[in-house]
């Protein structure tokens, strides 16, 4: 065994009792919980961004359909009114 190995071995033994300080486990669990929450938030925003174009397209489609229905119903109302006027 060389002097170098002896010194390494000695330092290995003398540092063997090192361990995490009290409260380390709870700090880790809190950090993991905080990370999980932030990852969830980021995922939520990312999903919302991904869905935004579909939502806009859906809204435009709904507005288009509503406008068409509006025209149809207006024409229907006008026809009824005409019929009523004629019958009067």
């Amino acid at each position: 065994m060389t002097d170098l190995d002896r010194r390494l071995s000695e330092l290995r033994e003398r540092t063997a009792a090192l361990h995490a300080r009290p409260g380390f486990r709870s700090r880790v669990l809190a950090a993991v919980a905080a990370d999980t929450a932030s990852v969830f938030g980021v995922e939520l925003v990312r999903s919302a961004r991904r869905l935004a174009p579909f939502a806009i397209a859906l809204a435009l489609l709904a507005a288009g359909l509503a406008a068409r229905d509006e025209r149809t119903s207006s024409a229907g109302v006008a026809a009824i009114e005409e019929t009523l006027v004629l019958s009067w």
Partner: protein, 156 residues
């Protein structure tokens, strides 16, 4: 998992970084990364859980050390003694950690991690290669260089 592996990983990180406060920060960050990888299914099981955790801690510690060297954190090698003691055996360990830091401080982080894993943590060269994600030849080369640098330092 933290209960089972926490002390060993903190001890390893402390031997790698030279102080307990940084070691705990690095291991905490590593657990967060590990949890994220486990929940997103990125742990493929090719390496053992132990090897994988040591790998994460090593990478995180190397990043931490490099960022500290770039001056992002104002820390000196004396920080090993800044942390509060919690008993006689711990006090002696802190002194030994300080000595270790003084001794290994000039080694490049790649050489230091190989030396710490093999000579202080007791891993085989193959296991060290798996943790450092390099070939066994590269590990041997790093160990030879590290030992030569330490011997040269002793001679000076």
């Amino acid at each position: 998992l933290v209960e089972l592996t926490g002390d060993a990983l903190v001890r390893y990180a402390a031997r790698l970084l030279g102080n307990m406060a940084d070691a705990e920060d690095v291991v905490q960050e590593s657990y967060v990364k590990a949890h994220r990888a486990l929940t997103s299914g990125r742990f493929d099981g090719r390496a053992s859980l132990k090897t994988w955790l040591y790998r994460i801690v090593t990478h995180t510690a190397i990043d931490h050390k490099r960022s500290r060297q770039r001056g992002e954190r104002l820390a000196t090698s004396d920080t090993a003694l800044e942390v509060g003691f919690d008993g006689g055996a711990q006090a002696e360990s802190y002194v030994a950690l300080h000595e270790l830091e003084q001794w290994l401080t000039t080694l490049p982080v790649e050489q230091r991690s190989a030396l710490v894993l093999q000579s202080l943590e007791g891993f085989t060269n193959r296991e060290v290669a798996a943790i450092l994600e390099c070939s066994e030849g590269a590990v041997e080369q790093r160990l030879v260089r590290a030992r030569a640098a330490l011997r040269d330092r002793e001679r000076v």
